[in-house]
Structures are given as structure tokens and as C-alpha cells.
Amino acid sequence: MKHNRMRAHFAGILVLLFAGVGQVTFAQESHIGGLTGEASRGKKLYRRYCVGCHGPLGDGRGENAPWIDPKPRDFVTGTFKCRSTPTGALPTDEDLYKSVTRGFVNSNMPSWLPLTRQQRADLVAYVKTFSSSFREEKPPSPLSMPSESAANQQSIQSGNELYQKMNCWSCHGKEGRGDGPSAQTLVDNRGYPIPPYDFSVGTRFKCGESNQDLYRILMTGLDGTPMPSFANGLTPAQAWDVVHYIRTLQMNVKRKKQTAENEKKDGGESKPVGAQPE
């Protein structure tokens, strides 16, 4: 009987705790596929791996920040470049997870593939706690992406015309060398100069390297940078045409064939940082 009562006490306290803490922790979780990230665990990882650049307050003012260009992301504003959601909206947990996994080419942000999936999910949960936006708003559903059209001559020609009409050349240049008339004037949302992408160099795009990633960049824009969303100006079919044309500007790029194996590798896990080879 006594035992029973104790169990009852315990169950009751648990329910009370859950009710009280439930809504507080709600914003401190991340959901990526079947994974649930916890901010409390993410905080420890953040202190170990991220704090040097992004800072203890998540404002991008870590001790390394003065020597870094482009500057580390300020998580407090809740503005993120790589999203599947419309411009002005918050990214999904999945978007943040992909950014942590992928890293940012031409920046000091490495790929965090060496961390486990669970660790990366925990980090996403913690990063979201820096901005009140994640408590006040929910990210809308990702932009829909119809399947890719055939990359034939007609599509490339149409893409070329759109590249002119949509003034892509103003920044990226007539030949995609990042030398358009407005290129020198561009700054990011913190006032730092930011160069437009030079297609002829052929490095990976900031938010992924597949045609789907490129389509997404066009339609969502890179918030916090001068790159706008073209969701208003381009139909999905036109956006695919622009993607196909842009690929012809990447003269020096040797593209990996996108295979199921590569996909798997991107989302996979490798050994933890500092682990000794077995």
C-alpha cells in the first residue's frame, strides 16, 4: 500500500512537471526526420565546437570573429541564408541541420559531418534558442518544387533570356563572372562587403550543389544577403530554365554525378573529431 502511494506520488509529480516544463522545452527541441534534438545537450556541444566564432550569446561575436570573413552568423536575428522556406521566413529544423552538416564553402564554417546525427540535431535545437523568433513564429512549409524539366537547348536558351531579363547580370555579370555593374556595391545585412557568386570559378554553391539546391536558392533567396527570392518573378518552369543556363556558366566545374551513394555520404556519419583511427 505504501509502495503504491509512493508510486502515485511519483506519477503525479511527473505529470505536474511535464505540464509546467512542456511549453518551455517545446521551442528547445529540434525535429529532423525521426531524430529529436535537445537544446540542453546541444549547449554543451556548442560550447565545445561553435562558441569560438558564433560567441556565447550566439550573436556571431565570438573571439575569432574579428579575423573571419565572411563573418559568423548572428543567430539572434533569426535570419538564415539556406532555407527551403520563403524569403523573410524562419528556416525549418531540417534546413539548419543541412547547413551544419554541409558547412559553408568559402567561409570558415566547416562541415560538421564528423559529429553524429544526434549531436547535429542537438546543436540545431540549441542554436534556435538564441532567437526569440523561434518562440514567436513557426517556419512555414517549404516551397514546393516541381520535378526538373529536361535540360535541353531550348531550356538553356530560355534561361539565358531570363538571366538578362531578371537582371541577374547586374551583380553576377554578363558571363557569370561575378563582375556585374552593381557587384562592387553589395553589402550583407551587417554592412560587410559581399561578392556575388562567380560561376566561372565553379566552387560549390553556398546552399548545396545539386540542381535542386540551385533551384531552391533562386526561389527562396539568401536572406541577409543581396540575393533576392525570385518566387514572385519566375514560374517553376522558368526557374528550372535558369538553373540549366547557370550550369553552362560553370565552365571549370567537374561535377560529381549525383548518385544514391553520394546522397548517403552527405547525410552519413564519420568518426568524431579527434578520434584515433582504429
Partner: protein
């Protein structure tokens, strides 16, 4: 057994109470700006008018070079001047924003249902400075034969950036919170404008003669600010009595 049931009941009730409180909280937040206690109450309201001036030698407007986009260049036969500082006779300063910055207390105001329009015309913004209310609909129109991107850079609202090709329908947006937001077009770097968002109707943007009018202001003690994109902010305190008409002068110094 009974104890357990009681605890469960308490727990579930607590959960419900908290959830309801949470819901109610959200609703209260939304309700700001939808009640209109002060709106109808214009009896005994005061009027605040005046002028904004610029003292010192009058600045010379700089010429804008639109050569980067031939479509823009072709639209103008006369030189286009920067609108950053525009003055009228006797140092009257155009495009200063005069507004109540403090003193309205807890009054809340409905945003007007009609939208405001910010137009891209001749590769400049029309108007150069747009005043609007929080949660009011903003329509961004492109009347030019070239593609613009409309890129507000807020501190207190969400930043967005949309491309708008010629002939497309207006973009509809709104801003939730008060602030003066710089707007630019990254394609045409000379294009600069401002959208001033207020949660109350007591603001005015000076015209070429530098004058402003704030009407139907409830009596009270207020802090009035005047903002100019180049010369910053001036502040004055003013007490308005019932039915009073007061005149203020703001003078920026170069």
C-alpha cells in the same frame, strides 16, 4: 489509488490551465492593435503643427548615375538628383518624419484597412519616404521596364528580399513592429528609400515647404521626435491641452 487519480487530475488540470494561459497569451498579443479605444475619441483633441528646417549653408544635391542599367538611363532626359537631402525656401527640409515617440501610454489603434503603395518608378522610389502603420498592408509596385529587387533591412521586423520583374502584380507585405526601415534595390545601388512603420496614426512626413500636421491628438504630455535620414533625430517635449493648437519648430544644423 485515489491519491494517484487526484494527482493525475491535478496534473491534467495544470496542463490545461497552462495551455489555456498560453493560448490566451497569444491572443492578447494579437489583440494589440485591434481594439480601438482611442480611435473614436477625438473630442477635445489637439493639433500639433509646425516646420522642420535645416540651418547653415544649403547642401547641393548629388547627381545619380544610372548608366549601370540602360533601361533606367533611357527613362530620364533630365539629370536625376539624389533625394537624400531636399530643401525648399528658407531652409525648409523635405522628407523629415515627425512623430509621437512617447506619451500615448497603453492606447492601441486599428491599422487602416486600405493599403499604402510604395512604387518603383524611373528607378527611384516613390515616395522616397513612406509612412505606414504596423500590420497595414504594404503594396510594392514596379512601374519600370526593368527588374528590381525590393530589400527592406529592418532591425526589429523580419528581413525579406524579393525580385520583381516588369509588369508583375504588386507584392503585398506588412510589418508587425514599429521602426524606420531602410529599403534598397541591390540591382540598382543608387535606389534608397525608407518605410517608417508606426503603431499609432500620429506621424507626418514633411513636404517641400518643411511643414507637418499631427491632428486629433488626445490631450497629454508627449515626446515628439523628428527623424531625418542624414541629420539624425531631434526631440522636443510638449504638453497639449484640450482643443489646443500648438506650433513647433525643429531645426537641424549642418
Amino acid at each position: 489509488m485515489r491519491t494517484r487519480i487526484n494527482y493525475l487530475q491535478i496534473g491534467v488540470t495544470a496542463a490545461l490551465v497552462l495551455l489555456t494561459a498560453h493560448g490566451a497569451g497569444t491572443r492578447t498579443l494579437r489583440a494589440i492593435g485591434t481594439s480601438s479605444e482611442a480611435r473614436e475619441d477625438t473630442s477635445g483633441a489637439a493639433t500639433l503643427s509646425g516646420i522642420v528646417k535645416l540651418e547653415g549653408s544649403q547642401p547641393v544635391a548629388t547627381r545619380i548615375n544610372m548608366a549601370a542599367d540602360p533601361a533606367c538611363l533611357k527613362m530620364h532626359s533630365a539629370p536625376v538628383m539624389s533625394e537624400e537631402v531636399a530643401t525648399g525656401t528658407n531652409g525648409a527640409l523635405k522628407d523629415a518624419i515627425v512623430y509621437i515617440s512617447d506619451g500615448l501610454g497603453n492606447r492601441t489603434f486599428d491599422p487602416p484597412t486600405e493599403p499604402v503603395v510604395f512604387e518603383q518608378k524611373g528607378c527611384t522610389y516613390n515616395p522616397h519616404i513612406l509612412g505606414m502603420r504596423a500590420r497595414q498592408t504594404l503594396k510594392v509596385a514596379n512601374s519600370d521596364p526593368t527588374t528590381h529587387n525590393i530589400h527592406p533591412a529592418p532591425q526589429n521586423n523580419r528581413e525579406w528580399n524579393l525580385s520583381q520583374p516588369p509588369g508583375s502584380s504588386p507584392i503585398e507585405e506588412s510589418f508587425a513592429r514599429e521602426e524606420i526601415i531602410p529599403v534598397k534595390c541591390n540591382v540598382h545601388p543608387w535606389m534608397k528609400g525608407y518605410i517608417a512603420v508606426f503603431k499609432h496614426p500620429y506621424f507626418a512626413i514633411t513636404s517641400k515647404d518643411g511643414t507637418f500636421d499631427l491632428r486629433n491628438v488626445p490631450p497629454g504630455e508627449y515626446t515628439i521626435e523628428t527623424w531625418h535620414e542624414k541629420y539624425g533625430v531631434l526631440t522636443q517635449k510638449v504638453t497639449l491641452e484640450t482643443n489646443q493648437t500648438r506650433t513647433l519648430e525643429f531645426v537641424f544644423k549642418r
